[in-house]
Amino acid sequence: MGEEKGNVKWQMNQKCATIGFHANPGSKAVKTRVSLFVTCIVDQVFPQVGIAMTQVLERLGYPVDFPAAQTCCGQPAFNSGYPEEAGIVARHFLNTFRDSEYIVVPSGSCASMIVHHYTDIFANEQKTLEQARSIAPRVWEFSRFLIEVAGVEDVGASFDGVVTYHDSCHSLREMHIKEGPRRLLSKVQGLTLREMEPAEECCGFGGTFSVKFPEVSGGMARTKIESILKTEAGTVVSVDSSCLMQIQGAIDRARLPIRTMHLAEVLAGR
């Protein structure tokens, strides 16, 4: 009983799957196609993060596609005081992902841009605003997709070593992603998670802030690294590649033997 095709539970599951919630999390029965939005920084600088994300999703049985017209979410312009230019790029995103049911993003910051700020940009453009509103619930930050849609914590990964997790600001404070990545890490075989204090303090990246106020931004990165060093972890994990680029850049400048990894890379490891 329960899994027969056509019964009430099966019907519910079918309906729920199309709007983003499975009545039966983790079920292998219904897997909707997911569209990757890898973000411009992963595309150009950290493609291994996108590859890892693809591997994890496919291992879980999700058919994955990659809308080839994708570029950027528009955040660099938006955060620099150019909402109009950001809007041009945002509109391109909305068109590119118009038909996607699940849009999975390896960045809480880019996901937040789409979910929270597109509606600000298009506040006075009714039609585009509706498009933005309709796409928001279909945008999933990678770790949240795993926990809430795929319904998994243990993806069968293994990792040898001590890691510490950096809460990237937009993931934490705009997307409220805090426990998910930690739960996923805690299920990775051989991995020890050691929290830094404080894990929630900004790394200092902040987009163009990092080049408009380089000394302040660099100082913030060095403070972050001090917190990391105290954990004696060999690896820093986060769900945002841009923070990791900042942290790794400062680590390399200080010639420290620490590496940064996106959560997807850890979860793809076997």
């Binding site: 890898v38 411009c40 595309d43 150009q44 600088v45 493609p47 291994q48 996108g50 590859i51 990659f66 080839a68 017209a69 994708q70 570029t71 950027c72 660099p76 312009a77 955060n79 620099s80 005081g81 150019y82 230019e85 950001a86 041009i88 790029v89 509109r91 600000d120 600001c169 937009h170 934490l172 404070r173 705009e174 929630e200 303090e201 900004c202 200092g204 990246f205 902040g206 987009g207 163009t208 802030f209 990092s210 080049v211 408009k212 106020f213 380089p214 000394e215 302040v216 931004s217 660099g218 100082g219 913030m220 403070t223 680029m245 900042q246 790794q248 850049g249 400062a250 390399d252 400048r253």
Partner: protein, 465 residues
């Protein structure tokens, strides 16, 4: 960025002693706050924040009504209300009153509003003596410095600094023991209290339905300021109004906890009118100066007017990683940190310090701890776009605008994006280290562009199918 005080910012960053002072003081304040709003001690903390936000929103949107109600109730208690549109009018009023009453000495308790209008300097020009009686403010007055922090004005000074300031200005021995330093200050200040003609305070809240001025403090100096001299003048911004005395249940619960982690400050004074017949203390005359000084300008913008909700707890400063690096004096006005970054451009115009709204990583720590839920990052973004708009109208900032224009065009033409990305991958390492790349490289290693982009990887992967 244009106009930013890079030199002094770098001095602050390079001063290890100062960095430690800022870091440990803000750390202490953060820890205390976190302890005071813990879910087991204050289970309805988030609901209180929402309520405080709603109360402020309501008040600010009905300020005309509450101003009149407050005035009516102050008068009913025998006090007087004076409306001032700017600092000059405040000075004129106080000077006029001092002249009429033959007053020379003014004692003051801590007030950001009077800092905002350079109250002391204006009065001193006319031969009056105005003495700060809050310990931190007193030290700063002697040292001729402005507050470093909204709540902890001398946060950047160590006891060794204070010893030097005291010995230089008060003719005392170099004293580094903090308890002894407070005794020195107390002795000097008691004399001032006893001889003061006028006491001036700010206000934390102006209660409309009772006409009361509420002042919170820890040192007892505000209480002396409001009871020893014959005249008490409150100088407060019009945004300090709250509708009812019962609303203090929300605001006092949040203010001390957010500021210093105290459930309540040591003293909470409710001041309503001069001393009445049969009362043993209190001033003979009671004035409330309601100051605009640009506040009604902020009121005009439906989104940004939430900046006026601020109750000056300083939590956003303590939690701001930028404030914690650059400290208070690199901000252009007396209000520093995230709240300073959103109100300064609104008071002074966005082009006066165009760099200010950009001096944030938009980490959002400020909004997370704000007891009245001001959406600081959102307002910073709004102000950033106002800066670039104003610059365009002035014909400046064209290079950046052009760059983002080209960027937007490239990002909406995937073929061009892919082509440029490939070229960039080859040429980026050869670019001279100037411009943004050089700025990046001044602090950290430049990441290498990947040999194969994700786009290319995906395309290659699809071929076998």
């Amino acid at each position: 960025m244009t106009g930013q005080p890079s030199e002094t910012i770098n001095q602050t960053l390079g001063d290890a002693r100062l960095q430690l002072a800022i870091y440990s003081a803000t750390n202490r304040l953060m820890t205390h706050r976190a302890g005071a709003v813990r879910a087991d001690l204050l289970p309805d903390y988030q609901e209180l924040r929402t309520e405080a936000n709603q109360l402020k929103k309501h008040t600010i949107e009905h300020l005309d009504h509450y101003l009149e109600l407050f005035e009516k109730n102050v008068i009913a208690h025998g006090g007087k209300v004076v409306y001032c549109s700017d600092s000059q009018e405040v000075a004129d009023f106080v000077l006029g009153l001092a002249k009429e009453r033959g007053a020379h000495l003014i004692v003051k308790s801590k007030s950001m509003t009077t800092e905002e209008i350079h109250f002391n300097e204006r009065l001193e020009k006319h031969g009056l003596e105005a003495v700060e009686t809050d310990l931190g403010e007193y030290i700063l007055q002697l040292a001729h410095q402005r507050p470093y922090h909204i709540v902890a004005p001398a946060l950047h000074l160590t006891r060794y600094d204070v010893a030097e300031i005291f010995s230089k200005n008060l003719g005392v021995e170099n004293e580094v023991v903090i308890e002894k330093q407070t005794k020195i200050a107390r002795a000097a200040l008691r004399e001032k209290f006893l001889h003061a003609d006028i006491g001036v305070t700010g206000a934390n809240f102006l209660v409309a339905d009772s006409g009361a001025v509420v002042v919170v403090e820890n040192e007892g100096n505000a209480r002396l300021t409001t009871s020893a001299p014959k005249i008490h003048i409150t100088v407060a911004g019009i945004e300090k109004l709250i509708p009812r005395a019962q609303d203090l249940g929300v605001f006092l619960t949040l203010l001390g906890r957010s500021a210093t982690g105290q459930p309540l400050t040591v003293y909470t004074s409710f001041l309503s009118g001069p001393r009445r017949n049969g009362e043993i203390d209190g001033p003979d005359e009671f004035y409330v100066v309601l100051l605009d000084n640009g506040r009604t300008k902020l009121l005009a913008d439906p989104e940004k007017r939430q900046s006026l909700y601020c109750i000056r707890c300083g939590a956003c400063l303590n939690h701001c990683p930028v404030y914690r690096k650059i400290g208070g004096h690199n901000y252009p006005w007396v209000y520093s940190g995230p709240i300073g970054a959103i109100i300064t451009p609104q008071f002074h115009g966005v082009l006066k310090d165009p760099w200010l709204p950009f001096a944030s990583s938009l980490c959002g720590a400020c909004a997370e701890v704000c007891p009245v839920k001001i959406e600081i990052p959102k307002l910073l973004l709004k102000l950033r776009s106002e800066v670039t708009d104003a610059q365009r109208r002035q014909g400046v900032g064209g290079v950046e605008r052009l760059a983002f224009g080209i960027w937007a065009w490239v990002m909406t033409h995937p073929r061009i994006y892919l082509m440029l990305a490939r070229i960039g991958g080859i040429f980026l390492p050869l670019l001279p280290k100037v411009g943004p790349l050089g700025k990046w490289a001044s602090q950290r290693e430049v990441p290498k562009l990947a040999k194969t982009s994700f786009h290319q990887w995906w395309k290659a992967r699809e071929v076998p199918k």
